[in-house]
């Protein structure tokens, strides 16, 4: 028998039971789509995180350490200008906690419901240093030092229900109303900014009598000298060494998230593998049934001169072809799912070639293994026994 004949035979065999073939292939398709999508979506999300890591890797924070009784000692007022003078430091900005001030929409809301938000005094240099985008309105400018204006972090705006600045909105900070002039986009490396209500240091001093130094300083250094800068930050911030300070690199958070994603991918791939195994068992099941149903055909083919290996090849090819059709369909579905997920998540579309190869390879393997037993069973059938059925 010629290879082309064997191929045609398998195709006609599958076409004879279209619905059954389609459903078996669909099982494989779903499993392969899951594998491809898991790898693709993880890779796309990772690409975004690694991208961020590249952009945010040079961000450092300096904060005053808490004392044993939980009281925070502010940083010295000289800290920020001193840090700005370290040569590799590119930009720097300071924020100050404005403690014991509640955040509410109006007086009608009990003052205990501050929604987990905090009031922060901030400088005009904050968006540039944090690489934070202004989502709505504008950021605090020079006039904010004199007038009660506020910019909301992304989460704070959501909690307060402010999604639109076309009509002027006010929020109640303590007992004073502030006009909302802007909303920031999420800042991944500094989640504390997302839940903050930002006002100027000037307003913090005049309205809330906050005259201390900053609580936290954010700075960006030359990406090649981040470690060097980090090592001198403590000494620069508190030259007399009387207070402890904490120096942090917020991008460590991104590294942790990448690692967490890797763990999830392993788990999901395992589930994809199980789905593929189930689909393979499904194909094996269908092929065993097919061999039982087609005993007459097997007997006839043996009578027409088919050798055992011709019969085995016919069934093995059928199961492999089912799996390959499913595999190709699954790859298409997986790529579409990845593209949709990447678009929804705002991530770049990245599909690792290994995902495509692994998807198709796994499908082939599943189909081949699933076909082995039924094919052997068909080939072993004695011609007279096969012909005696019906």
């Amino acid at each position: 028998m010629r290879p082309l004949d064997a191929f045609t035979l398998a195709v006609t065999g599958l076409r004879a039971k279209r619905v059954r073939s389609a459903l078996s292939a669909l099982g494989i398709a779903i499993a392969v789509a899951a594998v491809v999508a898991v790898l693709g979506i993880a890779e796309s999300a990772k690409a975004e995180l690694i991208d961020q890591l590249g952009r945010q890797g040079n961000l450092l924070t300096v904060a005053s350490a808490e004392t044993i009784n939980g009281h925070k000692v502010p940083l010295p007022p000289t800290a920020e200008p001193m840090i700005a003078r370290i040569p590799p430091v590119q930009t720097v900005t300071a924020v100050g906690d404005v403690d014991n001030v509640t955040v509410r929409r109006s007086r009608a809301i009990p003052d205990a419901q501050s929604g987990g938000m905090s009031v922060l005094a901030a400088q005009p240099s904050l968006p540039a240093t944090m690489a934070a985008h202004v989502l709505l309105g504008r950021y605090l400018d020079a006039s904010a030092e004199r007038y009660p204006m506020t910019v909301l972090g992304y989460e704070a705006a959501r909690i307060l229900g402010i999604g639109d600045l076309s009509t002027p909105s006010q929020v109640l900070l303590g007992t004073h109303y502030f006009t909302v002039v802007g909303v920031l986009a999420p800042v991944d490396v500094a989640p504390e900014i997302d839940v903050a209500v930002l006002i100027s240091f000037g307003q913090a001093a005049t309205v809330f009598h906050r005259t201390d130094g900053p609580s936290r300083i954010y700075l960006r250094a030359d990406p090649d000298q981040v470690a060097d800068v980090a090592s001198v930050l403590t000494g620069t911030t508190v030259p007399d060494g009387r207070n402890d300070v904490q120096v942090r690199r917020p991008s460590d958070l991104l590294l942790a998230r990448i690692a967490a994603k890797g763990a999830f991918v392993g788990l999901l791939l395992g589930l994809g593998g199980i789905a593929l195994l189930i689909a393979g068992v499904g194909i094996a099941n269908i092929m065993v049934i097919s061999v039982l149903e087609r005993r007459g055909e097997i007997g006839l083919r043996r009578a027409l001169g088919a050798r055992r290996r011709h019969v085995a090849a016919q069934f093995l090819l059928e199961s492999t072809m089912l799996a390959v059709i499913g595999g190709v369909l699954g790859i298409v579905l997986g790529v579409v799912a990845t593209a949709v997920a990447a678009r929804l998540g705002g991530n770049p579309l990245t599909i690792p070639p290994i995902a495509l190869a692994a998807g198709l390879g796994a499908a082939l393997l599943a189909g081949g293994l699933a076909g082995l037993y039924p094919a052997a069973r068909a080939a072993r059938l004695s011609p007279t026994e096969a012909l005696r059925t019906l």
Partner: protein, 228 residues
């Protein structure tokens, strides 16, 4: 004397336990080229087993089977498949047509395991269909045919490779008498072209259409007559 088409010498077939039925008991049978033979007998007399052994679908427990003078007992399964593909044609009571294929493709399947290219298979299948009087049905699906037409397709499939021997197991068993008579006529007509025909039947009318009649009982040949 020319080499016989089929030759059985002291062939016995005993099925393994638990049945341990002796289906054939020391059968000697020589069928010459171009002979038409009807094998008759009651159910369980061993007719089907005889046909399976003549067709190399089954091996005898003891004794030898020669096809066109060649001993088959030492042959491997693949070699026996080759003998079936090139020398033997089969027709069954249940037709065994592949329902999802066209009439033409069903007949062409008869040449599939001979390594004949696809186009040649179809050309020769069309000729065979013309011979059995079904040229007009070429494009139909097997499922659209009547019983008699289905058996004609099966006969076309059996003869498309021009086998020296045609073995038919109750070819008219599923057909009404008029249709069956047409099939019998078609089969006996093949002998005119030099094809050896051996058929099993319960039907005395069908048996009478064959020149030689072999009657089996309990696995033995009890009567072997040639009607002149």
């Amino acid at each position: 004397m020319s080499i016989p088409a089929l030759q059985l010498s002291a062939v016995s077939k005993i099925y393994p336990p638990p049945t341990e039925v002796t289906a054939l008991d020391e059968i000697d049978l020589v069928v010459g080229g171009g002979e038409t033979v009807a094998v008759t007998g009651a159910s369980g007399a061993g007719k089907s087993t005889l046909l399976s052994i003549l067709g190399t679908l089954e091996r005898p427990t003891t004794g030898t089977v020669r096809i066109a003078g060649t001993e088959t007992s030492a042959m491997s399964d693949s070699q026996l498949s080759e003998v079936r593909a090139t020398r033997l044609g089969f027709v069954f009571q249940q037709f065994f047509l592949l329902e999802h294929l066209s009439v033409l493709d069903n007949v062409a399947t008869g040449l599939l395991y001979r390594g004949v290219p696809g186009r040649a298979r179809r050309d020769r299948a069309a000729e065979a269909l013309y011979e059995v009087g079904l040229a007009s049905r070429i494009g139909h699906r097997a499922g659209q045919l009547s019983g008699g037409e289905r058996q004609r397709v099966a006969i076309a499939r059996a003869i498309v490779g021009r086998p020296a021997v045609l073995l038919a197991d109750e070819p008219t068993g599923n057909l009404d008498s008029t249709t069956g008579a047409g099939i019998t006529e078609l089969l006996s007509g093949l002998a005119g072209d030099g094809t050896t025909v051996v058929l099993i039947t319960h039907n005395a009318g069908v048996a009478a259409a064959m020149r030689r009649q072999v009657h089996l009982s309990d696995g033995r040949i009890v009567e072997d007559k040639v009607v002149s």
